[in-house]
Structures are given as C-alpha cells and as structure tokens.
C-alpha cells in the first residue's frame, strides 16, 4: 500500500500553478492545489482541478497519426516526421517561409519552446511563432 502526493506544475496555461497529484498504489486518483506554492496559494481553476482526468483518458493521442486517405491512421514516428518535413519544405519553396506559422505551447518547458522558436526562425526562416497561452 502506498499513498503519496506528488508536487508538480499545472500543464494547462503559462501561470504555472503548483498542484499535488494524489497517487494511490501507482494510480492517479485526484488533484489538489498546493497550499505552499507561491503562485496559486492553494487555489486552482476548473482546468487545474481536473488535470488527473486527461492523463488516463482513452481519447488521448499516444502515437503519431497521418491522414493517408480521408481518415487519420496510425503511423510510425519516422513516417510522420518524414511527411511533415517533406510538406513543410514543399510549402516553403512554393509560397515562401512566411507562409508557415508555428504554434508552441505553455505546456512545454522553456527549453522546448526555445528549440521550437529556433527551428521556426533558423530552419524555416520566419518570425511567425506564437504560443497557446495567448488565449
């Protein structure tokens, strides 16, 4: 038997509220706001309160998918990445780099966001980079 709470940061927006994931025998059973987080001081919004629900949701994407015909189908990472690279190159050559825009995420780390803006500016060649926290 093991029950513990794991301190982490809410993945939803860029505020960075501290929350506690309640873990019973390795299973995620609930979320509590952290009383000792200086950011949210024991409070959460409706999304933060339900963080534990999406982790095990059957609707969650767990592998890459490619739209081969009308519908999305399971694909390997190599296949999905090759397709994305090929199409981005084609679009850039035909319409120019400013025809491409990139949306990154407040759910990522600083380092991941840095990498994506670097890729956007240096590899694609556009300043069209923004993030999901501009809601």
């Amino acid at each position: 038997m093991e029950f513990k709470t794991v301190l982490t940061t809410c993945p939803y927006c860029g505020c960075g509220c501290g929350l506690l994931l309640e873990v019973l025998d390795g299973k995620l059973i609930g979320t509590l706001p952290s009383k000792t987080s200086p950011v949210n001081e024991g409070k959460l919004c409706v999304k933060g309160w339900t963080v534990h629900e999406f982790v095990t949701s059957p609707n969650r994407l767990t592998k890459p998918m490619v739209r081969k015909t009308e519908t999305l189908e399971d694909a390997s990472w190599n296949e999905a990445l090759d397709l994305a690279a090929k199409r981005l190159k084609e679009i850039k050559e035909k319409y120019g780099p400013d025809s491409i825009g990139v949306l990154t995420s407040a759910k990522c780390t600083n380092e991941e966001n840095y990498l994506l803006q670097k890729f956007t500016r240096a590899a694609i060649g556009t300043n069209n980079i923004d993030h999901c926290a501009r809601l």
Partner: protein, 264 residues
C-alpha cells in the same frame, strides 16, 4: 513539529495497530498529504503550519475515504484538528467511514488560528498535542445578520458575481462525498455561463451543506475569487442549530435532522 504526535504514531505503527498514518509531509518547504507506513518517514512529519499556524491544511478525511474504499479491512490513523474530528463524526454517521477502523490523532489549534477561523471548538476530543482553546464567536456572521434582508441579498449577489465556477469549494470539501453533484446537473443549475446562476448556484451548495458543513474553511481558502463561503455556511449552521437544535459534528450518536432514515 510535535514530538508527542510523532511518538504516538511511531508506537501505533510499531505495534502493528495501524496500516498507515494519514498526515502531512514536509520536504524543501513544501507541505503535502502523505500516508506514513514506515516510522522512518516520520522525520518529515508536518502539522500543516508553514508561515502561520494551519496555513497548509488539506482535506485528509477526503483522502481517508478513498483509502477506506480501497482497503476496507485495514485500520488507519489520521491527523485531526477540531474541525476534522467533527467531520469524521458526521462521516461515521453518513456511513462513509467505519469508526472502528479509524484512530484519531488530535491536534489543538493555537488562539491565532482559532480567531482567524472564528472556530466554535478549536480542539478535538482526542487531543494528543496542542492547546485546548476557547470558542470564538463569529463577527463575520454578526455583520451579515446586521444587514436588512435586501442589503443582505445584494451583498451575497455581489460576492457570488465573482465566481469563476472552478468548483474548488466542492472539490476540496471533505464532506462532499456524493457520486453525482447537483452543481453539475444541467436541469437544476444552468451550465455554460460564468458567473454561474446567481444566487442559485451558491445557494444550492449552501443548502447541501446543511448538517454536513463542519466549518473547516477549506472551501474559502480554495476560492480564487475570495468569496466568503465560510460565513455563508456558518450562517447555514446557525439556522440548523436554532431551528432544529442540531450542531453538525458535535456528537456521534445524534442524527442529523436531514439524515433520519436508517441506512443499513
């Protein structure tokens, strides 16, 4: 940290009387709920005081219900203040926990906390450590009582207007154990708008706190809009006490006037 509480829990674990102690754990300045199954872990025991007394309290009874569902045959000890003990007395009556499977480790609250909470009984009967503080009357309820009915309704409507419907008051509540919640029932409370139906949404919750709310104040602490929920539910408790002579959480035997049907 309390040596008395630590030693009491150590003894219970060593004698095999409990499977675990549900309390609070402190590490790197962070305080969080934890089930202590190994006496060695007790060096990290916290009583929920960081900057001020009781400023890092959590709904331990709510977690205890989850543990009891998963491990119905096991006995657990739990850290309780006066309010938590009142909660357990009600949860026993509502058949959410079995009294014989729970050992209460009582902590009395200092005057500073009792005053901030305007607490009716800031210590549990099962006191292991901490003071046996005095009752503090509620100035906040007195202020609301001093308003005429129109002013009172306007006051509450203005407070409820800030609600962002996070449902934190319900989520954190150790007495909200229903599997289905009226607050999410579209036929009873309109959905899809913020603030939620005013004052229906909050008055529905207030009515559901009748005979349940034990005045722990976790709802008000969790409210991002600083709605004085505690004052609202204290007022509800006052009405129940005046009209039905029932004080929530003060006895194990006396049934709530809203729970008179025998549940087998």
């Amino acid at each position: 940290m309390s040596t008395k509480i630590k030693e009491t829990v150590q003894a219970l674990l060593a004698e095999g009387k409990i499977r675990g102690f549900l309390g609070l754990r402190e590490e790197s300045g962070q305080i969080m709920p934890h089930l202590f199954c190994d006496p060695k872990e007790l060096d990290h025991l916290s009583l929920g005081d960081r900057g001020k007394p009781g400023d890092a309290r959590y709904p331990l009874n709510q977690i205890l219900i989850r543990l009891a569902i998963e491990y119905p045959e096991d006995t657990f000890a739990v850290l309780v203040r006066g309010c938590d003990e009142r909660g357990l007395k009600e949860l026993f009556k509502w058949k959410q926990l079995k009294e014989e499977k729970i050992i209460l480790i009582g902590l009395g609250c200092p005057n500073e906390l009792a005053k901030a909470c305007e607490c009716e009984k800031p210590f549990p009967d099962c006191l292991v450590d901490g003071p046996k503080g005095e009752k503090v009357d509620s100035q906040k309820v007195a202020r609301v009582n001093g308003m005429d009915l129109d002013a009172r309704l306007q006051f509450w409507k203005a407070e409820f207007d800030r609600c962002v419907k996070c449902l934190g008051c319900r989520n954190v509540c150790p007495m909200c154990f229903c599997k289905e919640c009226t607050l999410e029932e579209a036929n009873l409370v309109d959905t899809g708008e913020v603030p939620p139906a005013n004052p229906t949404f909050h008055l529905v919750r207030a009515l559901h706190m009748v005979g349940r709310c034990i005045d722990c104040g976790l709802c008000e602490e969790a409210c991002p809009a600083d709605i004085p929920l505690r004052t609202l539910y204290k007022k509800v408790a006052d009405i129940v006490s005046e009209e039905f002579g029932y004080k929530t959480g003060f006895s194990v035997d006396e049934k709530s006037p809203f729970n008179i049907i025998e549940v087998k």
